[in-house]
């Protein structure tokens, strides 16, 4: 059986940041991710990120992933792609399933002193009549098809949800040759960043605000979608319906943290709508109610790649310190990361997340959740 100081589950920006910092502090680190390549969501992002230089602004998502993967390898992290963590046994052993070879799927066990969960989030659905027809899929699924496999999910596409995911995926599918017939959102204004919305507006893509998908119709797959305006309770208003002929409907209606493994470890959870729903409670050190389990990134509240990276780094430093690694410089590093997170969580889009995060930290204090002091 394999042993390491720290096991990191999930190789997105959160997991990569955590693995890099823990390895730099001197801990032995194993990083597993179920995909053929590390990078998580970053690997599908072909657009240039914006923000600050420390968060790789101006670089494309997959380039940021490559930079982080190289940094992790240099720091001595053992990278295990195509490996899925299936959970743990009572004795504290982790079961890891290799997906590399279908004929020889292998289950291996390992033990670690601390575990950092960076499992990200999964996409939400909306159950309108007809949502189970072929042609209805989540926006992330369409993005994987187009940007990883080079396959267009459809030719005439309607998108439900005007957050960044809906806007970015819509624009990328247009670049790939699909026709985007519109973005529909129940909210009265666009939910995502204006920069992304502007690209679609310039291409004359209609944005139907205060509206929703009422129904998808088709024989063997989607052929038509009925959209309609909604009232104050988000219920469709009779007589406002219109029909759009399309072959694909993408659902971009938010993400939920992937909490299964955290739940298996008995980490206390709470429901925080502003951060994606059910999520594990954590303190400033990213430690959960189970002192051996740390969380970061979208699992610890759905935010962005930059916040996931910083939170991951924090989790890595603290988990390594709990194992006895790291020097005095770590205190300054922790302070710098915390102030960076503070800056990222500001402005119109960031402020509500900052407030929600503060509520989580306070809840952790009330419940007596404290990571080991270092």
């Amino acid at each position: 059986m394999k042993c390491a100081d720290i096991l990191v589950i999930g190789g997105g920006p959160g997991g990569l940041g955590a693995a890099i910092e823990a390895a730099k502090a001197g801990a032995s680190v194993l990083l597993v991710d179920e995909n053929p390549r590390m990078g998580g969501q970053l690997y599908k992002q072909i657009h240039k990120f914006f923000g600050s230089q420390t968060h790789y602004a101006g670089q494309r998502g997959f380039d940021i992933a490559d930079t982080l993967i190289a940094e992790a390898a240099r720091a001595g992290v053992e990278l295990l792609p195509q490996t899925r963590a299936l959970g743990c046994f009572d004795e504290g052993q982790f079961a890891l399933l290799s997906l590399a070879n279908q004929d020889a799927t292998r289950l291996r066990t390992m033990k670690a002193r601390r575990v950092i969960l960076a499992t990200g989030a999964k996409e939400n659905a909306v159950a309108f009549p007809g949502w189970t027809l072929p042609g209805v899929m989540t926006a992330g699924a369409a993005q994987t098809l187009a940007n990883i496999y080079g396959v267009l999910p459809g030719k005439r596409i309607l998108i439900l949800g005007s957050g960044n995911v809906g806007l970015i995926v819509g624009y990328q599918l247009m670049q790939a040759g699909a026709q985007v017939l519109g973005i529909v959102d129940v909210l009265p204004s666009v939910h995502g960043y204006e920069v992304h919305a502007a690209k679609l507006r310039r291409a004359n893509v209609p944005i139907y605000l205060g509206s929703t998908v009422v129904e998808a119709r088709g024989e063997t797959r989607v052929q038509q979608v009925i959209i309609g305006q909604v009232d104050a309770c988000f219920q469709p208003i009779e007589g406002t319906h219109q029909t759009i002929e399309c072959d694909t409907v993408l659902l971009a209606v938010g993400l939920s943290p992937r909490t299964e493994i955290a739940a298996m470890f008995g980490c206390d959870m709470t429901f925080e709508r502003r951060l994606g729903g059910l999520m594990p409670i954590h303190d400033e050190t990213m430690c959960t109610s189970n002192q051996t389990i740390y969380v970061c990134g979208d699992l610890a509240g759905v935010e962005e790649a930059s916040t996931a990276l910083d939170e991951g780094r924090l989790a890595g430093i603290h988990a390594a310190a709990a194992c006895g690694y790291g020097d005095e410089a770590r205190h300054a590093r922790v302070a710098a990361l915390q102030s960076s997170l503070n800056t990222l969580r500001s402005g119109m889009h960031g402020q509500p997340r900052k407030e929600a995060k503060n509520d989580i930290l306070q809840l952790a204090h009330r419940k007596g959740i404290v990571g080991e002091t270092i």
Binding site: L107, T109, G277
Partner: protein, 106 residues
């Protein structure tokens, strides 16, 4: 498109695809007193299929909240069990490799 076609009867959408449980069955379960994702699961089997509620748990949560149940009560779920994602039974085959585990009783 005529007005007639627009107002075609609204069908009752499936919420749990694995177990083919429809929205009306979820609403009926709430009427019978179910107050959480886990109660609905036990009453209707929604979320008991191969994917273990990966998509429908969140949908059921929304239906519960829309019915006036508090989010903190609605989200109650069964503890996730091993394996968290379906995997081939061959993965549990004991073998000569020393780092493979014996098949645990599932």
């Amino acid at each position: 498109m005529t007005q007639q076609e627009h107002t075609a009867p609204i069908t009752d959408p499936i919420i749990c695809r694995c177990e083919e449980i429809r929205k009306s069955e979820i609403l009926q379960a709430i009427e019978m007193g179910c107050r959480s994702v886990t109660a609905i699961k036990k009453y209707t089997r929604a979320g008991m299929g191969v994917c273990q509620g990966r998509t429908c748990a969140r949908l059921i949560e929304q239906i519960l909240i829309a019915s006036g149940i508090s989010p903190q009560a609605a989200v109650a779920r069964d503890k996730a069990r091993f394996p968290i994602v379906p995997c081939p039974i061959s993965a549990f085959n004991g073998s000569d490799k020393e780092d493979q585990v014996d098949a645990p009783s599932i």
